[in-house]
Symmetry: C2
Subunit: 329 residues, 2 copies
């Protein structure tokens, strides 16, 4: 894997142990129509951010992280399940540069393989976990999953909803993206035997990291970034109600607000993107979104600074947070 | 509910306690697009066979069944989840005489609401269960779910597969239908504190009850039964590879085998059904299927007779088995 070469040496042990576990989970051969799609998606790669957050949190509270690779895998498997089903609902044909599962294997395979992944998640989650840790681990994991599903529903609802407010949007991305990062960190703390206070702190840090990440994702999508080969304005062309769009709608001058609304019907896509971006800047929406992302990231960092974890663990988590925030992982 | 009035008085307490629990689970209001489909399917009724098997098994081993209504609900919720997703995959438009979830609310609602149900299953399954019971309950429940999904995959595979053998078919219906009845009984025994031997016995009884039920379902579908308002030959018209069809293919004379195969293309549906049924009878397939169902049912009964459970519990379970087998519930 390409990104593995760039991983800081302090992370290499987590990554290599995790990858060793990940690659030996092959599922059974039959029925092939059920298991081949799972093998396919689980081999497509990924940055393993959730397993890393989990293992590093577990280590940072003094837990035996090497005994919890199965829980790390459960998080990655769950994340991939959401990709499989969301890609169906969003009608996406590409994932990580390859055909999506339903595109390659058909709708039914996408639905049913995703379903199987969910039940395997539960098995990996509980594998080898002390009985005393089970009730809270299961509750945390499944409540998180329900939030994520609610977030996906909100995201779909927004498409058919007239006006979306900034706080609704932030709640949606918190549910859809951030809670799983929070869950990964909290679950790591929980399995590592941390106090309830440390668990909660790590959860809150994960939420803020995820929110900052998602807001920056919206900004990068709009304004592009050559480093990531992103085309400028993908969300704008699709008329997606991103935070930038919502903030611009709320804060632009009456004239700009009218133009912004009219640009949704603009057929000259270059003009559409260019003029929308100008309003994002002129209205102050870009600055507000950047400030929001930066502030949330700083809150996440601050929580980690104050958390009751080992100094090595703290340094590593801060390094991982920085890499995630700067998109260097 | 109509069938409640006909329930034997010995069952009424289980049923009324269960229904009281079931009807107070309303899920949250928002997002409505996610939860309304769940409320819809969970209010469509159903015979509660899985909750009943679970509660009666728990009681029959001396367990406190009233404390495990949440686990009974988890089984019913899981069963309904499979209906929601299977109806999408099978392209079914009606369920219990009403529009299926995806028909009424759309494909995405069917997928996502089904997904949410799965995670709620885990929460209801583990709710209030002693920590010591959790690992095995979770393993049993989730391994069962995976088998059921494998069964659905096999069922879909059979449609595109040239020849299906009787033992493949029996494995498919064991996975798709029977393991959940076995699981309901075993989980009841497990939560009720039974020995491993009793757990296993009840599981095996459930498997046989389910197999017998499914085989009789195939027979009823083919030959009809006015009591249930079933149209004769639905599976024959759809060219489904039922046990009757497989046994007839294996056992008919060469001439009949040729006719049976040609009848698949027959456009006169009345002729198609009538002549196929005649071959089912003439080849001995009907008799073999009837004998198989009866033998499996008797095995289930025999296991219950020998199981280490209370006499009242035994009598009630035998009564429930009989009602299920005779389709009087």
């Amino acid at each position: 894997m390409n990104w593995l070469a760039q991983v800081p040496s302090a992370f290499r042990e987590y990554v290599s142990e995790y990858e060793a576990f990940h690659s030996q989970v092959t599922f059974q051969a039959e029925p092939e129509g059920l298991y081949e799609p799972i093998r396919y998606i689980m081999r497509l790669g990924g940055k393993r951010i959730r397993p890393l957050l989990f293992l590093m949190a577990c280590d940072a509270v003094g837990g035996r992280w090497r005994e919890h690779l199965s829980q790390a895998y459960a998080l990655e498997l769950f994340h991939n399940f959401t990709l499989v089903h969301d890609d169906i609902m969003d009608g996406a044909s590409l994932r990580r540069g390859k055909p999506t599962v339903h595109e390659k294997f058909g709708l039914n395979a996408g639905i049913l393989s995703g379903d199987a992944m969910v039940f395997y998640c539960q098995i990996f989650l509980t594998e080898g976990l002390a009985s005393v840790l089970l009730p809270r681990s299961i509750a945390l994991f499944n409540q998180t999953a329900i939030r994520i599903i609610e977030g996906q529903q909100m995201d779909m609802d927004f498409e058919n909803q007239g006006e979306v407010k900034a706080d609704q949007y932030l709640k949606m991305i918190e549910y859809k993206t951030s809670v799983l990062l929070g869950c990964a960190l909290q679950l790591g703390a929980l399995t590592g035997g941390a106090t309830a206070e440390t668990e909660e702190a790590l959860y809150q840090a994960g939420i803020r990291l995820g929110l900052a990440f998602q807001i920056r994702d919206d900004i990068l999508d709009a304004f592009g970034d050559e480093r990531f080969g992103k085309v400028r304005g993908g969300d704008i062309i699709q008329n997606k109600k991103t935070l930038l769009y919502i903030l611009a709608s709320e804060n632009a001058s009456p004239d700009d607000r009218k133009i912004l609304s009219e640009l949704r019907q603009e057929s000259d896509l270059k003009k559409k993107v260019q003029e929308t971006l100008e309003i994002f800047e002129r209205s102050g929406a870009l600055k507000m979104a950047q400030d929001k992302a930066e502030s949330l990231y700083q809150q996440a960092v601050s929580i980690i600074h104050q958390a009751d974890i080992t100094d090595t663990g703290r340094a590593r988590l801060l390094e991982l947070f920085r890499l995630v925030h700067e998109r260097n992982i």
